[in-house]
Symmetry: C2
């Protein structure tokens, strides 16, 4: 009998593993079990689909099921929901339209992804309350916007999705509110960077920082009444009315199948794996938004679910299972988000408190520079926070914000973190200069110089 | 008596050295001798001044002479031309308006820069023939354009300046021709990248590749008649008529003072220095466009005159002379140029022939990708060439071209070269992804993957 590789979940990690395994091993039997009707889609594009930049939701699909089946010889089964993993039998129990079946595996990949966090608050399931995570949820929001032409929306959470959706709502002429429990939006980016974002988005949305939603109730005029409370002020209450609520309060790894099978979860709550992606149970692997990954800077298992990691580590596991043993890549947690006219990005560990918790003796500086040569009329301000360890003088992380040139510069830091650069090494990189693209001293070099001068 | 630091040439390297030395040592006497009336200017901005993006030439001046004198206590002397260096006396002979004087030094920095190459051809000094290098030459071209409203211009040289000036001429409605001796414009970027540029600029200018200017003569109708010959075809001759000629055939280090003083020049023809910028004669340093710098990839002295190197190494020498010994940075030769709608960039060693000459066993690949997620309507093609050494699997260099996102990506490679990354390390960097900025697999990662697969 052929060796059989079974994959639970047909998105980034799962389909990357399937495709790579097929390329490396034409003889492997590869079965992908996907509970929805979508595979291999770019969930990160959903806010842009809702906004209208991307016309058809099908455009978000990188590779169609047909193509996986015909061209890559992958046995892709939609509407197949895995109910249970049975490690003793090396099989999975699968629910499909006409009942349950048991499918044996030789190797198994859990790529069940993550789900949107739904806080346990009154009214979370009312009509008009949405989350955004998968294709169906994107379609539901888009349909609601087009059918109901809401005038107002309240966004719970000032993270990536909250920021991107505020922009999408703005395009619909919707008056939006963002409620964020932390003192700042994009909290992990650091206050210096977040404040620039907050000033910028005030023109487009109303911010409620340090507040949380206590309840959502049916209000007057077919609106929802949202009870806001302040994290610090006991008697604070506010009841904004809104046509809709988008809960964008983060995501949590989808680990119930793994947990029930006795697979070890890490401290982050995601599935723990070894450096090849194998879980605590032999022949069962995990990758993507359900799994931990080693952090480049701390060296510790971390949970930073991002698309590239899912694709890359899915691919590595596919390769290993096909016979070509491949280690997973560690991650620096590089992320970028467009917030109206701003580019905002982070990588590594910028926050000094988090750095301390990880055993570093951090120092952080923030500088103001500009995106192009100072004499260029189109030059825009750019702000960079840079964090290093005082003892090793190693770079730990950076955050940045500006109207242009941020996307250019965050990857310099990501690369430097990958190479375990000291701040002095960062200061000495020979970066590209031409007046339309950068000052002679690139803002990254200026930041490195300022930080390095404090390390002497 | 106070220690005296004398600097020959008041542009990037010289003024960076002066400023840094002052900051580190308030007691040092610092004299800068500049033969022109300009210091500390961004020569790279001249094409944009001529084009009209920058309104006043004074805007290119980063710091005024007044500010250097008053705020930084630097004895800056304009219209002071050094005629001779006398290492035995530790002095320089200086010509000024009212005669010659001798100025002793304890430490000397030669930052005489480079001059535009003027090929030895008939008619090179005719009216209407220009070079572009310093502020005066920029002013001359701009004045000529505004006074004479030329209809046509012939550019000798398809390098950075040639490309940028073709764009400036286009803004004036000038019909331009570019003559390039090599088979391609931007020759060091490699043919795959250059061909994209050539296709793009055909809409704006006429290219004469593999040809050279044999003579420039006065033609009919007050025009210049330019005799073109083909490098390979003996009997080829062409005589385009043009209102003006811009000679942009590269630059050469200004080393006559150094040579006459007995200072050693390197094989490149520029001034050789040690790792602190000191020349073959004690207490005499050299930095900027007149000096060699160690190449990060080859480890050998090289001549790649760029603004950042001049600023950075001038600064390092200023620091050393002020008492804080600082090594020069090596360079990867990162360069970027805007060519009409294109961004074109290179770093390290891309050309396999040059790599071979430097003892590598090179392999080069070229890939096509795009600047954003495939489903983003604004995504643009991007082409990357990547070169590595087969034995060490180390990255050697890259070139790129595209309408957007090139400036973002070249610095990833520059950083990786600085960290002596293998291709596998490059493939594993955690780069930023969001649909408006990049595909999930950034083009750099795709290029690394393709190259790495050939190294197995």
């Amino acid at each position: 009998m052929k060796e059989r590789f079974v994959i639970i979940g047909g998105d980034a990690a799962g389909m990357s593993a399937a495709s790579k395994a097929r390329r490396e091993n034409p003889d492997l039997q590869i079965i992908v079990l996907e509970k929805s009707s979508w595979v291999s889609y770019g969930a990160c594009g959903l806010p842009y689909y809702i906004k209208g930049d991307i016309k058809n939701i099908e455009d978000l699909v990188a590779i169609t099921p047909e193509k996986f089946r015909k061209e890559r010889n992958i046995d892709l089964r939609l509407h197949h929901e895995v109910m249970k993993i049975n490690p003793d039998n090396k099989s999975v129990i699968v629910k499909k339209n006409d009942g349950e079946i048991e499918i044996p595996y030789n190797k198994l990949l859990i790529s069940t992804g993550a789900r949107a966090v739904k806080p346990d608050i009154e009214g979370i399931d009312l009509d008009g309350v949405f989350t955004l995570r998968d294709m169906e949820s994107g379609q539901r929001i888009k349909e609601y916007l087009e059918k109901n032409s809401p005038e107002s929306a309240l966004i719970v959470g000032g993270g990536y999705i909250g920021m991107e959706m505020a922009e999408a709502f703005h395009v619909y002429g919707i008056n939006s509110h963002i409620v964020e429990l932390f003192p700042h939006v994009l909290n992990s980016f650091g206050p210096e960077i977040a404040e620039v974002v907050e000033n910028h988005i005030q023109d487009y949305t109303t911010l409620h920082l340090g507040k949380y939603v206590n309840a959502i109730r049916k209000g007057s005029h077919r609106k929802l009444s949202v009870q806001l409370k302040d994290k610090k002020v006991d008697d604070y209450e506010e009841y904004p009315l809104t046509d809709m609520v988008l809960v964008a309060a983060g995501i949590a790894p989808e680990v119930s199948l793994a947990r029930e099978a006795g697979i070890k979860l890490g401290q982050t709550g995601a599935i723990a794996t070894d450096e090849y992606g194998q879980t605590s149970i032999a022949d069962i692997y995990a990758a993507g938004d359900c799994a931990e990954v080693k952090h480049t800077v701390t060296g510790k298992p971390s949970y930073i679910p991002l698309a590239l990691t899912a694709n890359r580590n899915g691919r590595a596991i596919g390769s290993t299972i096909a016979g070509k043993t491949t280690k997973l890549a560690s991650i620096t947690g590089t992320a970028i988000v467009k917030v109206f006219q701003l580019e905002v990005a982070t990588t590594g560990i910028v926050d000094t408190e988090i750095a301390e918790k990880n055993g570093f003796n951090p120092i952080k500086i923030t500088i103001d520079s500009h995106s192009r040569a100072g004499y260029c009329p189109k030059s825009k301000p750019i702000k960079i926070s840079l964090t290093a360890d005082r003892e090793s003088k190693q770079l730990l992380g950076a955050s940045m914000v500006g109207e242009e040139g941020v996307v250019k510069r965050i990857d310099i830091i990501a690369t430097a973190l990958s190479g375990e650069f000291t701040v002095e090494q960062l200061e000495k990189i020979d970066l590209a200069y031409a007046p339309p693209f950068s000052p002679v001293w690139d803002p990254v070099l200026t930041a490195a110089r300022v930080l390095n001068s404090k390390l002497d």
